[in-house]
Symmetry: C2
Subunit: 355 residues, 2 copies
C-alpha cells in the first residue's frame, strides 16, 4: 500500500463524515472537517487528519461532548471568557476568534479566553482568522499532554504550549509565526515515529539528561524547551495566560489526551485580536509590513542558505502546492483511517465523494 494523494476537499469531507458518524451536528462536523483539512493544507501535518483516530476514540469514549452549549460566561467590553462545555476545541476557538474580532473592531483590542475547550489543532488556524478583517492576532494554548519539566526538574508539569501571531501585509504574504515553546512539537515527534525516522539531537532528552533520538521511546523522556530556561519560562507563561487565567487545566491538572479516552481535559486557550486601524491607517501599516518583509528577503545570506524565509511563508507555499497538487497521506496513516472508517461505517478516505 502506498501513500494516498487526496484533495483538500476530499480530506475535509472524510473528516466531516467521521465527525457526523459519532454524533456531531452536520454544521459542527463540517466546521471541524474544514479546519482540520486546512491544517494539512498549510503543512501542519501533526495537527490535521492524523488526529482523527484520537479524536474519534475520545468522542466514543465519552471524553468529549458532541452537542456542547458553548457560551460566554464572563464578559467586558473588550474581553470574554468562553466555556466550551467540553466541545471540540475547533468549535470553541472559532467562536472565540470571531468574538474577539468583533470586540476588537469596537474597542481596538480584545482578549477572549476559553475553558472546558479541547485540542483545537494548530495555533495558527485561529491566529490567521482575523487576517481576513485586516487584523492582527496573538493566540496562546495549553498543550494537551505534559512533555516538559520545569528547567532543572524531572516532573512533566508543562506542555509544548504554543504561541501563534499573525499580521497582515499589503502585497506580501501575511507574517504568521506558529511555534511550540519546545524545540519540536510533540506532533512532530509522532510524525517521525509514523515515518519510521529518528529525531535529530536536541528535540528530546531522557531522564538522565541524555539525548533521546528514537521517537518510539518518546514516553521515556521529555521535550527540550527553546533557549533552555527561557523556553521553560515561555511555556509556563503561555500556560498561565491560556490556562490558569481562564480556570482551565495547568500543571498536574493537564490530562494526557493521547492516553485517556474518558476524562474531560478542561483545555484552555486564548486569543488576542488587535485592530491596526486603532493605531493609524491600516493600509500604511500593511505597507510597512511589506517593507520589513522585503528588507529581510533582500538580506545578504550566509553560505549554505539559498533564500531567507519570513515566518509563515513556508506554510503559505505549502498551502499553494497542496491546493494545486493535493495532499499526500502516508500509507500507515491511510491504514489507520481506513480502520476508523470501517468502524464508523463511513466511506474510506479513498472512497469519500467530494462535494
Amino acid at each position: 500500500m502506498s501513500d494516498l494523494n487526496v484533495s483538500h476537499t476530499r480530506l475535509a469531507a472524510f473528516i466531516t463524515a467521521t465527525m457526523q458518524a459519532v454524533g456531531l451536528p452536520a454544521d459542527d462536523a463540517r466546521t471541524i472537517g474544514e479546519l482540520m483539512a486546512e491544517a494539512d493544507l498549510q503543512g501542519s501535518d501533526g495537527h490535521g487528519v492524523i488526529r482523527v483516530p484520537v479524536y474519534i476514540r475520545r468522542i466514543l469514549g465519552g471524553a468529549v461532548n458532541v452537542r456542547p452549549e458553548i457560551k460566554v460566561v464572563e464578559e467586558r467590553a473588550a474581553t470574554a471568557l468562553i466555556d466550551g462545555d467540553n466541545g471540540m476545541g475547533h468549535l470553541v476557538m472559532k467562536r472565540a476568534a470571531e468574538l474577539a474580532t468583533e470586540k476588537a473592531r469596537r474597542c481596538g483590542v480584545a482578549w477572549v479566553g476559553s475553558r472546558y475547550s479541547n485540542h483545537a489543532g494548530p495555533a495558527s488556524l485561529y491566529a490567521r482568522m482575523p487576517l481576513a478583517h485586516d487584523m492582527v492576532s496573538l493566540y496562546f494554548a495549553v498543550g494537551n499532554a505534559n512533555h516538559l519539566p520545569p528547567w532543572g526538574g524531572l516532573d512533566m508539569l508543562l506542555s509544548t504550549n504554543p504561541i501563534a501571531v499573525a499580521l497582515p501585509a499589503h502585497e506580501e504574504a501575511p507574517v504568521v509565526l506558529d511555534m511550540a515553546t519546545t524545540v519540536a512539537a510533540y506532533g512532530k515527534v509522532k510524525a517521525k515515529a509514523m515515518l519510521g525516522e529518528m529525531m535529530p539531537e536536541g528535540w528530546m532528552i531522557d531522564r538522565q539528561g541524555q539525548p533521546l533520538l528514537d521517537p518510539h521511546r518518546r514516553e521515556e523522556g521529555f521535550l527540550l524547551p527553546i533557549g533552555g530556561y527561557k523556553g521553560y519560562g515561555l511555556s509556563m507563561i503561555v500556560g498561565l495566560l491560556a490556562g490558569t487565567l481562564n480556570g482551565a487545566a495547568m500543571g498536574t491538572e493537564v490530562v494526557d489526551f493521547n492516553n485517556d479516552d474518558t476524562s474531560v481535559t478542561n483545555t484552555g486557550q486564548a486569543i488576542c485580536v488587535i485592530d491596526p486601524a486603532a493605531f493609524g491607517d491600516t493600509l500604511a501599516f500593511k505597507q510597512r509590513v511589506d517593507k520589513l518583509v522585503r528588507e529581510i528577503h533582500a538580506s545578504e545570506r550566509m553560505p549554505g542558505f539559498d533564500r531567507i524565509w519570513v515566518p509563515g511563508e513556508q506554510s503559505h507555499l505549502k498551502r499553494e502546492r497542496h491546493l494545486a497538487q493535493g495532499i499526500a497521506v502516508p500509507a500507515s496513516l491511510v491504514r489507520e483511517l481506513d480502520a476508523v472508517a470501517r468502524q464508523l461505517g463511513v466511506p474510506t478516505l479513498a472512497d469519500t465523494p467530494t462535494p
Copy 2:
C-alpha cells in the same frame, strides 16, 4: 579603586541629579532615577546606572528631547497610541503602563503602543507596574540597536526585541518573565566586557558562523536567537507589534543608539494589560498561580540542580538582597560615572547625599 557599594536610594538620587543637570524637569528626572535604580535593584544590571553615560551623551548631543510633550495621538476604548515626542523612554512607558491599567479596568484588556519613544530600560519594569493593581501584563519592545540578522542572513535587521510578562500570585512572588529573544541580551555582552570576562559559546557568532567569545569583538559578529529560527521569528514578531504597528522604527530604520549621539531613534514599545477580574474572581486566579508555582517548586530535580526557579524569582531575591545590603557598582563603572559627574558639575555617586 574598588567596587562601590551603594544604597538604591543613593543610586536613584545620583541618576536624578545627572538628569536634572542636563535639563530634565525635576519630576521627570526623579521618575527616571527611580526606575533606573529599580533596574539595578532587581539585578537588571545591563539596564540600570550602567546606561547613565550613554543617556547623558545622547541628551547632550541633542538626540533626546528633555522637555517632551508626551501625548495620546490615537485612541479607542481599549487602546491608545502614545507619541513620546522623543522623550526618555522611561517617561513614555510609565505613562503607557498607567493608561493601559486604567483602560483594562474598564474594558477588561487594553493595549497601548508608543512611537517616538526611547530606550526605557528592562522590559519587566513596565510589565511589573500593573501587578500593584492585581493585573496581568505583557510588554514588547524594539531593541535600540540591531544585533541579529534574519535566520540564514548576514544583514543585522533585527534586535534583541524583548518580551516581558508579569502575573500576580497570592502568597507566592509574582511570576515575571523578562527575556530577550536572543540567547543573551546585548547589555549582558557589554557587562561581560566591562568585567573583562569572556562570553560562553552560543551567545554570539561571527560572520562566518563561528563562535565569538570575546565581548570586545562584539562589533564583528551578531547575537544568536533562542531556538534558532524560532527566536528569529519571535524577534521579528515582537518588532512588528512594538514597532511597525505603531509607526515606530523597525529593520533598517533602527538607530544604533550606542554609536550615535544625535539621531532620533523613534523607538516603539507596547504594553498589554489584562484585568483578571474580567475572567472570574481575582483572588481565585492568584491562588491558582500559587498552586502552579508550588507544583513547580516541588518537582523532582535532575542531578546538579539544588532548586527549581520560577521566572522572576531570582530577580525578586536579588531585589531583597540589594535592599538589605546595597548594590555593588563595579570600579570601572564608578570611574565612568565619576567622569560624567565632573562633566555635569554634580556630586559623584560616592558623594551624592541620600534624601
